[in-house]
Structures are given as C-alpha cells and as structure tokens.
Symmetry: C2
Subunit: 430 residues, 2 copies
C-alpha cells in the first residue's frame, strides 16, 4: 500500500479540523483508497496552545520550511497572502503537491501559483477556498466539465447569509443581526471582509475563472456589501415576493461576461431563497445540464476539513498513479470576449425613496424614470400615521440598463422632496 506523507502548515481552526478528520476517518479513507495518508508533521508558530484534540506533541514543529522537505503533500492553512504565498511557491518548486483553503491567495496570485505548479509538475488543489463543504470546484472542473456555463449564482458568505436571515425571520435590524453574528462567532470583530462583500468577491472570482477559463482579476469584480440593507428593505421585499441575499454572480450574456457581488432580491419560490443561516448555496445554469443547485455548510472547522481532506485524497491518488497534473491546477482558455461594465448590465431594480408626502411626488419621480426609459413594474406606497414623517415609496422596475438607473437616481436624489439616500437593490429572477 502506497504511503503518502502529509504535512500541515497552520494549526488554527481549519488545521485542527483537518487533523481531527484524518484521525477520525483515517482508517475509513485508507480502506477506501488503498492509500495510507500519514500525518507527518504540523507546523505553526504556536505549538503550545491546546487545540482540544489529543495529538502526539512530537508531530508539532515551528519549522515550516523543514516540513516541506519531509513530506509528499503540503497543506497550507496559514491564510493571508505573504507567508502563505512563500510556502506554497517553495513547496511547488520542491516538486511537492499542495492543498490550500486560501481564497485570497488564489484570487490575488492564482496565475503565478498555477504557473509554478505547471513548471515543477506538482498539483495544487483548492476545493476548500470556496463554499467550504460543498465540492463546487470539483463539480465545475469535473462533474460539469461538459457544459457551457451561462450563470452561476452563489450565496458564498455564511456571515452575510446569517445576518440577512436574522433580519428576515426575526426582524432584527442590520446592527442587531451583526452583533448576534459576532456573539456567536460567525462574524469577526472587524466584519468588513464579510459584510462589505470582499470574501464573496474572492470566491466569485474563483468560480467565474473556472467557468469562463480565464483567471479573473479581483479588480474586474464589482463589489457591494450588505451594510445598506435595512429592515425596511427586507420587509418590502417580502411583500413583493422576494428574499434578499448577498450573491456572487457570474454570467455570460452573449459572449461577454459579468462578475459581480451585491445584495439581490430573488423570488421566494426559488430554492436559493430557502438557503438560510450560515449555509451556502450555488445555483449553476449551463448547456446541456440546465439548472442545478448545491448547498451545504460554507465554513467552519468541520465542513472545511471535508474539502481539504478530499483534496489530500485526490492529490494522493495522483501521486499513487504517477499522474500529477492529470487535472491541471487551472487551464487558461478564455471563453468570452470581454467584461461587461456595470453601467452596461441589464437588470430589474428595486428602489426605495423616502419623500415628503405632498401632491405631485409620484408624478415627479415617474417623469424622471420615464425620461430615462425606465419602465415601472410595480409601486408600493404605505400610509404613514405620523404627520411630517417622510414616506417611503418603493418602486420595482422592468429590465433596464444600470447606467439609465444611475442617471435617474441621481436626478431623483436632487429633488427637494427626497429625504435620505435612495436605496437600490438589483433583482435577479433566478
């Protein structure tokens, strides 16, 4: 039986999960694969802290560089893009295969890393970088490899999905829902990476890259987070038959693509709308597959460890059959013409405008929309009991270009009857 030595660099939450999984399911995996995965060493700057698992302390080392030379597979779980990048490149250049969960590293330095993998004929697998336990990277690269992809919609950030679920089902304000997420450990004390959409953007860029065959630069991805979603918006959306989700969207329209991250209203009947709490979900449309959906836990020690260990098994199978790079880390192919700028996307929109309740308000707003060629699909205006309080008008439009919408909003915003910033949410009819 082939023995494969595995070294883990980074003994934090995910590292602890991976070690636990290898310990608990090691015998099962061995009998499934006829490969003996040997946990050779674990490197971390802190080798004293108790991780709550019973582990032979002689496996722990502070010397990541030495570890690289002793093993067959290097598992990078350090995070960040500096030291992580160093060790990944060092491992590859030593001909060692690499498994990583590091989305930021790949989104920022994918091309350089994949080139190194190719040059030194070593594998780099990265299933855990997107959607934790859902094997979506394998699915796009292998399971659906026969397809021409049209659309990918992903709920890719558990923190945001938790916050939006709390707002929607428990009527929490954004601030209260965020606080709750932080108390439960779902959100960081500085939550901006999650709630401002950057984490989702990293993941959306990776999925879009795999689908459209070109390693997409983060700067090409439009990013908007969920800070501006108010409980009002959630309530109005519900009334209109929609749920609000933070989506990573990769679409091909004609032969151009768009990759964007923003809150979106999706029909309540769509299965994606039922993916709540910290769960992730990804809906894919392609030819010939049609529509297909995958959901599961997107983060956390356990789910992420499933993805990392699956990658270790895949790489070990390659080592066992001398077929590293059987599946190249990334095959550049570019199956599209150009990126569609946000101004040029077509979308339906929800807008919420707080106005002074006086005669002619709706006429003024609808005149501007009409002049910008924007057609109204439905409108909602609630009675407000307190006199002098601004009244929210909610408008849902038919499909229009974003530039027309932006132009209209900038004109409406300047009307003296309009109070507060107008809120816009794009509608995706999944």
């Amino acid at each position: 039986m082939k023995k494969v030595k595995v070294g883990i660099i980074g003994f934090g939450t995910v590292g602890t999960g991976v070690v636990t999984c290898l310990m608990e399911n090691g015998a099962l995996i061995k009998s499934r694969t006829n490969i003996d995965l040997i946990l050779h060493k674990i490197a971390d700057i802190d080798i004293e802290r108790n991780r709550g698992i019973n582990i032979d302390r002689s496996l722990l080392t502070k010397d990541a560089n030495a570890l690289i030379n002793e093993v067959d597979i290097v598992v990078e779980l350090v995070g960040g893009t500096t030291f992580a990048k160093d060790i990944v490149l060092k491992a590859l250049s030593a001909g060692k295969s690499v498994v990583t969960a590091n989305k930021a590293l790949l989104a920022n330095h994918g091309n350089e890393i994949f080139a190194a993998a190719e040059k030194y004929h070593a594998d780099i697998y990265y299933e855990a970088s997107v959607a934790g336990g859902i094997p979506i990277i394998k699915t796009i690269r292998e399971g659906l490899a026969a397809n021409n992809f049209d659309k990918i919609y992903g709920i890719l950030n558990g923190t945001c999905n938790y916050i939006l679920t709390q707002m929607s089902y428990n009527n929490h304000s954004f601030e209260d829902a965020l606080k709750k997420a932080q108390d439960l450990g779902y959100a960081e004390s500085d939550p901006s990476l999650d709630i401002d959409g950057y984490d989702t953007a990293h993941k959306a860029a990776i999925l879009a890259s795999l689908a459209f065959g070109d390693w997409i630069n983060l700067s090409s991805v439009y990013v908007e987070g969920i800070r501006n979603i108010s409980l009002d918006d959630i309530v109005y959306a519900k009334e209109l038959g929609y749920s609000i989700k933070l989506l990573g969207i990769a679409k091909k329209v004609g032969n151009d693509i768009q990759v964007r991250v923003h809150p979106a209203m999706i029909p309540n009947g769509a299965t994606m709308a039922s993916i709540n709490d910290v769960y992730n979900g990804i809906y894919i449309e392609g030819k010939p597959i049609g529509g297909t959906l995958f959901y599961g836990r997107g983060a956390g020690m356990a789910a992420t460890s499933s993805a990392v260990v699956a990658d270790i098994i895949d790489v070990a199978r390659n080592l066992n059959s001398s077929s590293s790079l059987r599946l190249p880390a990334f095959t550049s192919q570019k199956h599209y013409d150009k990126f569609t700028q946000m101004a040029d996307i077509l979308s339906r929109y929800y807008i919420k405008i707080n106005v002074t309740d006086e005669p002619g308000v709706i006429a003024k707003i609808s005149t501007i929309l009409g002049e910008e060629n924007i057609s109204i699909s439905s409108m909602l205006q609630k009675e407000v009991s307190e006199i002098f309080k601004p009244v929210p008008i909610v408008i849902v439009t038919h499909s229009t270009f974003e530039k027309n919408m932006i132009s209209a909003l900038s004109r409406i915003q300047k009307l003296s009857i309009v109070h507060e910033k107008i809120n816009l949410i794009r509608i995706e009819d999944i």
Copy 2:
C-alpha cells in the same frame, strides 16, 4: 495534443444527447482539457432513423463489436442487462475503458463488471446511472471522500416526483397525474419500473454501495412504490406540515445499515420538500461535512449527456496521464456490520384508517396502538357530511419499530368498524 477516440453504442435518446453535446461543446471541452475527443463511430441496430441532428452518416455502424476494437473509450448506452453486459465485458477485456449510464446493469452485475475492469486495467465510469445531471457519484466517491456517511435521502425518479407534485399542487388523483406524465412523455406506457420504485431502488443501491463500501444486492433493498398514495394522503400530509416524496434511503444506524425505497412524509420546511416536478435531489449527511444537498434534472437527453460526457472527459484524462484505475471502479471495503431488516427499523408513521363513525372507534384503535407500545403524536378526524360514509382517521405516531406498527395494523384492520385497507406512510424528519 492527445487524441482519444470515442465510440458510442446505442443511438437512442441518451446517445443522441451525447453526440449533440460532443458536437456543440467539443471545442470548449478540447480547450479545457487539452485532449481532443474524437467521435469515431456510433453503433446501433437502426442506422436509418432520423434523430433530428445533423451527423456524418459514415459514423454510423451496425457492428458494435468492430467499433470496440477501433476506439479508446466505449460508451454503452444500449440499456438492459444482456447485450449491454456482453459489450461492456468485451470492451473491458480488450482493455478499452467504458462509460455507461446503465443502472440496471450495475445494480445487477456490478461486481462482475468491476472485477473485469480491475483485471484488464481499464476504467468503467457510471455517473449517468444515478440522478442524471447531478454529479452525485463523483461527489460521493471524490468530493466527499473524507466523510463517514450517515444518511442519504434521494428523490431519484423524476416520473414519480412529477406525479406527486401534480397531486400536491394541482389536486390531481394518482391516475390523472400518471396519465398526464404519460402524455408528456415523462412516464412509459408501462410505468411500473418507475412508479413501483424499482428504478429508484437501482439508484439507491448504487449510492448506498458507494457510501458503505459493499456492492449491495438489489434483493437487500426494501421497495415500495407510490401506487397506494391517494390525494387524501397528500392533503392530510400538507395539513400536518409534510410533503410526500418517493425516497431512496440509505442510512447507517449504529454500525448497521438500511437501504429502502418508499414514499415518505418529509417536513415542508426541508429543502428536499421543495424539489418538485421531474427534478431529482439528494441530501447527504456525514461526518465531518454535516448536511449537504444537490439538485438538478435527473433524466432526459440533455442532463444525462452532461454526465456521460463528464465521464468521457474523466476517462480521457486518465488515458492522457496513463492513470487508468487511478480511481478504481469500486473499492470493496464494507463499512458496516449487517442489514437491518424492515421489521427492525425505527420510524415515525402516518396511518389513515377509514372507519364507521360510531362511539368508541378511537378508543378501540388507540387501545391496540397502546398495547403494541406505539405512542400517538397527533390525530386528525374530519367531519364528513354524508351519513353512513366511512370517516377517515389520520394518526401520526412517535418513533416505533416497524414490526410493532405492522402488528398493530393487522389487528386494527380486522376490526369490524374498519373499511378499506389502512394506508401507512413512513415519516422521515430530514
């Protein structure tokens, strides 16, 4: 660039889909894989019929045996278990890799076929045998390979799901819904393979085999179809907060397993309950992954072709890197002790009893249930306006052994107040 010659045997619906996919996405696949898949020949007994696609007629042959010798990959799309078995074994023994969509062949002769693949060092891939476009076999064997599987629930037959959806949403009777499915081509004129659960059983056996590491004989699978589900049952289930689905169930309880196919009531809140019409869905629970779900089209030319061509790509990658059997067709490992007999499963139950509306009825029934140690969770009795008409009593039980339930039902059935056969539906709290 590596050239790989593909031969297709069986030019029916799925074959037509595969040829279409290779024609439409061939260039895309070539650029993705750096492998040139060449459609070398298509064998069928009928090479005259117009399949509605534009194909070079010189590719068509009646000689499947000659085709085998000329290609690298044999795609078996004949169906059935006689001629299909012959050609699969012939191809493998000639060292040719095989892709098949044939669930009946695998469920009945898996061990023999896998042994031949191993002996002649050739691949056999079979993604399309279960759940059409959903890459569930790859997911269980690779994407979730690190997991210890606890539960698999599958909606695996589109025909049944369509019928149950029609009953549930359009209040059709079973007969009307079946007729509608037949009119739309979703059901065969002899629909028993689908509606009596055998198709689901084939697929459940394959999924259970992969999850639990032992090629499971069909005779070990309990099979019950949907013929006895009435519109009444659907309506009562809805009232109780459940949907009725035909499920393929593979469960590990303790170290024993159960593989069964039967209609089941699942909570309306479960995402599985929202998988309707001809769609398939599979929910998997394991450690460390937790719960995860996959849904998509389970049948049809297009979705199935996605799975077949993905397998062709996988096999071609193996040929390209000289790594056939990198992933063995099946690794026997047997990770369980024994099969739990149906009499010994624990379940909650829904029972519907049509009784004469007279004093003491409920006392009689509940006494028997009590004597069999079955505890009632809820009960529903509707007023019926017409005098003398039997009244349905619906009872939902707490968890109990199936043998106790069977014994109680046989006693209740004999009561003079009971009309018609009592209907029992198991409840799965997914």
